[in-house]
Amino acid sequence: MRELHTRLAKLFPLGELTEQRTNLAFVSVPQEHLRSLLLHLRDREGFTHLVLLTAVDWLEEGQFQLTYLLSNRGKACDLGVRVMIPRDGATMQSIHELWPTAATYQRELREMFGIAFPGSPRVEEDFILEGWRDIPPYRRDFDTLKFAVENYSQRPGRETHDPATHMKQQLYPGET
């Protein structure tokens, strides 16, 4: 992985390599170099399989982190490519020409995080949610409890117990 990173760093402005395991590492890259890096990894380095494309909402930094996890089946190792994009008006170039399966991930990200992927096939269609009107639910400023209380009728009488205190009262009722 180190070796690969050294090789890649000569061609692309890469960030530090984070090694999770011997066969799994993550590297960050600026948005404009992502496509050429992915193409290079796919065609020259044998990372032929896009395992997943996912996002993390860094609300405090005002950024989304996209992770493109690639797999090299021959060497049995995975490399995650991380890209930070601004949270306001989040837009990312689509990579559906590189991996057609990416279109599905991009549809999901558009729906759950509100990241636009112009040009991606069927990206504007509903994916999991149907008739969603609020802000995308995986954004961290979306208050899921508040939404649930406002939108769904609740059955009264629901209680919440702290498991530790509850079990203490159940098992040792005399003690305080």
Binding site: L129, E130, T144, A148, N151, Y152, S153, Q154, R155
Partner: protein, 213 residues
Amino acid sequence: MKEELKIRVVKGPDGVEFEVEPLRDYYCEAAPTVMPGAYIKIVEDMFNWARSESIWILGFGTGCGAIEMRPLMTPRFDAYRYGVQWRPTPRQANLFVISGYLSTKTLKRAIRAYEQMQSPKYVIGLGSCTINGGMYWDSYNTIKRLDDYLPVDLYIAGCMPRPEALLAGFMDMKKLIRAGRGEGANLYAENFEWYKANQKRVIHDWDMPDYNW
């Protein structure tokens, strides 16, 4: 609205063009009506006895609770010995087991399936998710109480209830039906407006007729 539900002009094989309005043409618009009981109590009791002994379940697993229904079909628990069996289509079923959490997306399908079932029909809510949301109490996408949307005859509590609990639930369901208290379909017909209003409050892309069967 989906493309296939819009009004369009179709050219038939004989070259004649005609207009198709899917929502009106493919579905019956008549609202459900209350079915009166038999003319005499002893006959109605006999009907109820027969109904209670042939509980046919719609094999529609809406949530994780569906996994508890599989062992019931196999020799270990063998629900078939009680006259309970699973059917592949709503037309052949009279008991709808809502097995676990119901997302709004699944609720839409569940409503359609329920309405396509033949009367008299019954609904069992399985697991705590159907009762008060269960572990999905703060979820943005699951309904919290099932009886606002479908007329529930019986709840089986647990997360998840064991197959034995389901068997006990089926036995209770039989008792309810024999006592003439399995009136869910009539309840649905009587409070049709209320149920529809509740359903439409959570299903925002309502692209089906109000009642379709």
